[in-house]
């Protein structure tokens, strides 16, 4: 395993390639892929405690691919990706999670999902109080608590 706290250029390239395989850009939904520059920059800037696992995952990916992932034919790349996910264990899961957590906080993505671009606090959210007459059948059935004699 590479014992560095930052990714090598090759690892960055592979990360970008695999990120695009997880989430490609979509014209239909008007969203970037996870290989987008801003999302990639967010991933690299916030790797933090996940760096070791992500580096391990990328090392594993490099071993499976035998060459830069982007240089593989599409079918071979898909095959490597499947192997990576099935055999990569916790490290691969961490890499995928890091990609997803950065992707699903990107402004463009949240906007496409119809979500507000903000932290939950301080505005919060409003909930409908609901129709509490739905409880009527439960009340009508009643019941009792079990007790020792």
């Amino acid at each position: 395993m590479t014992d560095l706290l930052t990714l090598t250029p090759r690892q960055r390239d592979d990360l970008r390639t695999v990120a695009a395989m997880i989430i490609p850009a979509s014209e239909e939904y008007r969203v970037p892929g996870a290989d987008d520059d801003i999302i990639q920059a967010d991933i690299l800037a916030t790797l933090g405690r996940d760096t070791k696992h992500v580096v391990a995952a990328l090392d594993h990916l490099a071993r499976l691919a035998g060459m830069p992932l982007a240089d593989l034919e599409p079918a071979a790349r898909d095959d490597v990706a499947q192997q990576f996910r099935s055999s990569g264990g916790g490290a691969a899961a961490t890499l995928v999670r890091v990609v997803l957590q950065c992707y699903y906080r990107d402004d463009r993505v949240l906007r496409s999902l119809g979500l507000e671009l903000r932290a939950p606090f301080p505005k919060g959210h409003v909930l409908p109080d609901g129709d509490w007459s739905l409880l009527d059948p439960v009340k009508a059935r009643g019941g009792s608590l079990r007790r020792a004699p």
């Binding site: 395989m21 999670r97 606090f121």
Partner: protein
């Protein structure tokens, strides 16, 4: 040497705070040592755009993942359920769902009613006034009158039903099954200095609004005003004893890592069902070679989690997802024993309102229902904001082989041996979990859910740490007596979840705190002859 204190409490969480507050009226010199510090709500996850990502790191519910200086490691490799907790002023009430059921009267009499486990040495009625007092101080919301739950009197109205609650209610009504709005410690109106809930949604890892009750904002301000001293970032290594076999004080590491000795006339342990046996076992001495208060050999044994059998799916209608407290309704339909189900005892149900987008994406990808590639976007839009969940919280019966011991290798940052957990899910619990999953599937299908997924047990679900220093009247079969005093060391008390005899099928914090208040009350009534 430091001056002795009258009462030394170890741990400032749910039970430590309650016992400190209650004893404060005696005007004794009370000191609490807490390994964590005060929390700063301005730094809570829901204040930032990366609120979900923090759950996977510094705000993980697992101390092993979180790894803050205030945490200690736990070897739970030999357990399908991993221990989760929080170490700070407020303890795990900082990081919990605020779901607030109580044990039922029948939970105190499992042996009498069902011939399993043991009866508690006290009954529900003994705790009733303390449940009420605790609900008032913690500030609960709910709807009185649930026909299948103990009668409660929440001072605030129940949470809104929301979108998810309405879907749940309709499906449960179709099936003719019980449901009721949960009692919670989420303030639904301004209450005792706490602002009302504004549905930040990300309740479990601390509430930036202060609407979720935690003891750092409820009991502790009152206790400190009443004269209790709270010393933070102080990690207790061991309880010492004198030539008479009485507790003489504790050895601890202060905020600078310097070893200190604090003498005390009374020691109260409030460290939870893992931390308490760890401390007792680490307090072994020539007089107590098997650990302090352990003549029964039961310290650390009978560990009970609640195995959670969770099943969830996705409905067509939008759910509340991350825009509401995660739990709002419960069911007690399967709480009591019915042997025709193939197991003894039962389970409560927590319904789950949904999840935020990151959590949804991460979990669904891991489950294999959210694909990589072009179809990712379509599928994600079908899942996100449409989740509905059903969690059976199964009563775990006490078994001595489920236990906490000291790890021979693993140590915390002060070099103190760490706890090791050995735990297996019993056959009875497995049958209960299967039953819960089957009922959950019926519920989800009735609600129109698809893409149904299962987490059974929830692996990172060891929230409830119970039974490892059980109470009882027989010193050979219990660690503390019926009012929390150690059978072996007459000035040593335990007030946390480790004294539970059985676990019930509900979240335990309400009962833990009622027990702590009850024990404090017993102590106050016996001050003149506390050590007799």
């Amino acid at each position: 040497m430091k001056d002795p204190v009258d009462v030394l409490i170890i741990g400032a969480g749910a039970s430590g705070a309650a016992v400190a507050w209650s004893l404060a009226e005696t005007k004794m010199h009370i000191l609490c040592l807490e390994q964590g510090g005060w929390m700063n709500p301005a730094e809570y996850p829901s204040t930032g755009r990366d609120w979900e990502a923090k759950f996977y790191g510094e705000w993980s519910s697992s101390p092993n993942v979180r790894g803050r200086p205030e945490d200690y490691p736990i070897n739970d490799d030999n357990s399908p359920i991993k221990v989760v907790n929080y170490n700070a002023v407020g303890g795990s009430t900082v990081m919990y769902t605020a779901h607030w059921p109580r044990l039922h009267p029948s939970d105190f009499k499992a042996k009498t009613l069902d011939g399993v486990a043991d009866d508690w040495p006290i009954d529900y009625d003994a705790l009733t006034p303390f449940f009420e007092e605790n609900d008032r101080i913690m500030g609960t919301s709910g709807l009185s009158g649930d026909p299948l739950s103990p009668l409660t009197h929440p001072p605030m109205p129940q949470q809104p039903m929301g979108l998810s609650g309405a879907i749940i209610a309709k499906a449960m009504n179709k099936l003719g099954w019980h449901w009721w709005p949960s009692d919670t410690t989420v303030a639904t109106m301004d209450y005792e200095g706490r602002a009302r809930c504004i549905n930040l949604g990300h309740c479990t890892p601390a509430c930036a609004q202060g609407a979720k009750s935690s003891t750092d904002i409820t009991y502790w301000p009152h206790a400190i005003r009443a004269g209790v001293e709270l010393r933070t970032h102080c990690r207790v290594r061991e309880i010492t004893t004198d030539e008479n076999g009485m507790a003489s004080g504790v050895v601890y590491y202060d905020k600078d890592g310097v070893e200190q000795f604090q003498p005390a006339h009374v020691v109260i342990i409030a460290c939870n069902g893992v931390g308490t046996p760890r401390l007792l076992l680490n307090s072994a001495s020539g007089r107590f070679p098997n650990g302090l208060a352990n003549s029964s050999g039961l310290v650390g044994k009978n560990l009970m989690f609640h195995p959670y059998a969770q099943i969830y799916g996705y409905v067509k209608e939008p759910t509340d997802s991350n825009r509401a407290p995660p739990t709002c309704l419960w069911s007690k339909q399967w709480y009591d024993t019915d042997l025709s189900r193939g197991f003894v005892r039962g389970y409560g149900v927590q319904f789950v309102r949904g999840a935020g987008p990151v959590f949804e994406a991460v979990v669904s990808e891991q489950k294999g229902i959210l694909p990589w590639g072009t179809d990712h976007h379509r599928v994600f839009r079908k899942l996100n904001g449409h989740r509905l969940g059903f969690s059976a919280i199964c009563e775990d019966l006490p078994e001595e082989h489920n236990r906490v011991t000291l790890d021979p290798v693993l140590k915390d940052s002060h070099g103190i041996p760490a706890p090791k957990v050995d735990y297996t899910i019993s056959e009875n619990s497995r049958k209960m979990m299967e039953h819960g999953l089957a009922r959950g599937r019926e519920f989800l299908e009735t609600a129109g859910a698809t893409d149904i997924c299962v987490n059974s047990p929830i692996p990172w679900g060891g929230w409830h740490l119970l039974g490892t220093a059980r109470m009882g009247t027989d010193p050979e079969r219990s660690v503390v007596n019926e009012w929390g005093r150690s059978h072996d060391v007459k000035n040593l008390f335990i007030v946390d979840g480790s004294i539970f005899v059985t676990s019930g099928g509900v979240n335990p914090t309400s009962t833990i705190q009622a027990l702590a208040l009850y024990i404090a009350d017993q102590m106050k009534q016996r001050l003149a002859n506390l050590f007799d």
